[in-house]
């Protein structure tokens, strides 16, 4: 019995071409969205950088004359939102992605500039800020870094005046390296610097909060009082 059947190889090729086309479309769409994201990050960076520059210029112009308007352009929320976006992109595109590294570098510079400006504002105008510097490693299995990030996010939410500046210790950027030298940061990571205190390794949220309250007693008390008033108003409304 002759069993051989006809095979339409052309159909297989057509199916392959169609499947390939679907794959390419998905790749293209994904790329398109990624580019749009990077564009948005750059736009936010530009806007922050302009704001910082504007604040700096304003500050230099007015010097000690008036502290009234300075600080209204302080962009803590924007910086945080930028950080979230860069982190998301790093997860999506990979931490080794060139664009992501460049974005991170620029972000680190913005953080340092923001810190310098905030420090001057807080010194000269008596505005109250709390600063925390957080140096993390890029190794995937740095579970303590992951946990420290979570604790700092928690504290930032509880104390809105706390400005957390996080830096990738391994980032090849001289400004970050200088900062690390100033704070005498050496591996192992994570390391958090609050005021004069250098905290090595992971500390849970209670411990970290105690340190913060020790360094900034007045500021933390104010924040907690505000929190109490807010929750009291909410309960009353209910």
């Amino acid at each position: 019995m002759n069993n051989s059947k006809h095979i339409d190889w052309k159909k297989y090729a057509i199916v392959f071409a169609i499947t390939g086309a679907i794959f390419s479309t998905a790749l293209y769409a994904s790329n398109y969205f990624n580019n749009k994201r990077i564009y948005e990050i750059k736009r936010i960076q530009d806007s922050i950088s302009t704001s910082i520059l504007s604040s700096e210029t304003q500050f230099s112009l007015l010097s000690e004359l008036s502290c009234k308007d300075v600080g209204s352009s302080v962009l803590s929320d924007e910086l945080n939102s930028l950080a979230e976006r860069i982190e998301f992109s790093a997860q999506n595109l990979g931490a080794e992605n060139k664009e992501v590294i460049e974005l991170k570098k620029f972000y680190s510079l913005l953080e340092i500039k923001d810190y310098i400006l905030m420090k001057r504002i807080s010194e000269r105008c008596g505005k109250k800020f709390m600063f925390a510097f957080y140096f993390y490693g890029n190794e995937k299995n740095c579970q303590d870094c992951q946990k420290t990030s979570l604790v700092l996010t928690y504290l930032r939410e509880k104390y809105p005046a706390l400005r957390v500046y996080s830096f990738d210790y391994n980032l090849d950027l001289s400004a970050v390296k200088t900062l690390a030298t100033i704070f005498k940061i050496k591996e192992p990571l994570p390391i958090v610097v609050i005021g004069d205190e250098t905290i090595n390794g992971f500390k849970d949220k209670e411990e970290m909060e105690k340190i913060l309250q020790k360094i900034y007693p007045k500021e933390t008390k104010e924040a907690l009082d505000l929190l109490k008033t807010k929750s009291a108003t909410t309960t009353e409304k209910k």
């Binding site: 159909k11 199916v15 169609i18 990624n34 992951q146 604790v151 928690y154 949220k205």
Partner: protein, 407 residues
């Protein structure tokens, strides 16, 4: 690790997409060639195997008696496989019925019943209807039309789940409809490799040419189809020849049934391994059988990799929970920026909608009406959650050479 998981996902999606595009193209290609045949009503024997089926057997016989088919050419052979309940007694009502013969034999399993009946049948065409199924009146006419073509050696029907009650049965309803469309497409490319137990019909000469049914890992309906394909005997599909059957209503029963089917499928595939990647057997050899094997393993690996991902995200959540306590996710501030738009997610979404389209079309193909049914979602979402269990068990069974019981 991430790169490996990603590679697995890409492979899985590519295979599935390729398969679905192949099905769609073959289907629309085949539709152009379709022609309506005239009625063909030669003498035919419908075998009803029964084992302890006193409550359902009469209904099954009645549904055969109600078939739109010349009565003089319709013969019913009820074969009792050594029932221990009142099946034989119930069948006494047909004692003097001109169209019905009742036989009884020692218990030996379904394939022995079929062989017994084939050997005793006097017609050139035989088919079987299990005692838990029943047929639409025009089903046999639709099937026999296909035999007008002298090269057609077997014809398969469309199987439908009768009155699905729970989610599990509704899921099976969509699955059966999908199966009907799939069988139709497979018949277009001459690659049908299962002749479902209920209401598949054969020319009797098939059995003289290639032998009778075998035990075949308790899946004789797969084995006979594979053997027919191996000998180049054509299997056709009759759309609209509806056979109603009852799907298992509990997870446990469904699991048992599927372990039997999948183990049997794998067992038969191993027995007929020379057909896999063999272009002598056309699309069945070079594509359908290989993709069934590769697909099975890719699916298993894909599911395991998804499990790893799930565990990873669970670990992250537990870490967060242990570090800062439980916090409610915030839904208020949705931003497009955080939408997952990586290639795999986009492809996954495309695949989902394509599968949804095919399953919905399959329902239209079986029932004749376009209607979106939630059953399709049950099938796509639920099936992928529970199928891995019987897949793993079946692969295990085949590795250790264990046989699943057929009841």
């Amino acid at each position: 690790m991430d790169a490996v998981l990603q590679g697995i996902s890409y492979t899985f999606i590519f295979f599935t997409l390729y398969f679905e595009v192949f099905l769609l193209i073959s289907f629309f290609e085949g539709r152009k060639k379709e022609e309506v045949a005239d009625d063909y009503t030669p003498p035919v024997t419908v075998i009803v195997p029964c084992f302890n089926e006193e409550t359902t057997v009469l209904g099954t016989v009645e549904s055969i008696l109600n078939l739109e088919y010349p009565k003089e050419n319709l013969h019913i052979m009820v074969v009792d496989d050594g029932s221990t309940d009142g099946t034989l007694k119930a069948l006494e009502v047909y004692k003097n019925h001109p169209m019905i013969e009742v036989h009884t034999k020692e218990n030996g399993g379904k394939f022995t019943v079929l062989n017994y009946a084939i050997e005793n049948a006097k017609t050139d065409f035989v088919g079987c209807l299990d005692a838990d199924s029943f047929v639409m009146p025009d089903a046999l006419l639709r099937i026999m039309r296909k035999f007008k073509n002298p090269v057609t050696m077997a014809v398969t029907p469309s199987t439908v789940i009768h009155k699905p009650k729970n989610i599990l049965q509704k899921m099976q309803k969509a699955e059966y409809e999908y199966g009907n469309l799939l069988r139709r497409i497979l018949s277009i490319i001459d690659a049908v490799h299962i002749t479902p137990g209920p209401f598949s019909f054969f020319r009797k000469e098939v059995f003289t040419k290639i032998g009778l049914f075998k035990h075949a890992h308790n899946t004789e309906d797969m084995e006979i189809a594979m053997r027919m394909q191996k000998h180049g005997l054509k299997i056709e599909n009759a759309d609209g020849a509806l056979v109603y059957t009852v799907g298992p209503e509990t997870i446990k029963k469904l699991y048992k049934q599927r372990v039997r089917w999948t183990s049997g499928f794998l067992g038969n595939l191993i027995d007929y391994k020379e057909m896999v990647f063999n272009k002598k057997y056309g699309d069945l050899g070079v594509f359908i059988l290989p993709i069934a094997v590769v697909g099975l393993f890719v699916t298993l690996i894909f599911l395991v990799s998804n499990l790893i991902r799930f565990i990873q995200s669970l670990v992250d959540h537990i870490l967060k929970w242990k570090t800062v306590g439980i916090s409610m996710p915030q839904f208020g501030n949705f931003e497009w920026f955080f939408l997952n738009t990586n290639t795999i997610s986009i492809l996954g979404l495309l695949l989902f909608f394509m599968t949804l389209f095919i399953v919905t079309y399959a329902s239209k193909f079986t029932n004749g009406k376009w209607r979106f049914s939630i059953d399709a979602l049950y099938f796509i979402l639920l099936y992928s959650l529970i199928a891995p269990f019987w897949l793993i068990k079946s692969v295990y069974n085949n590795l250790v050479g264990k046989h699943a019981p057929w009841r």
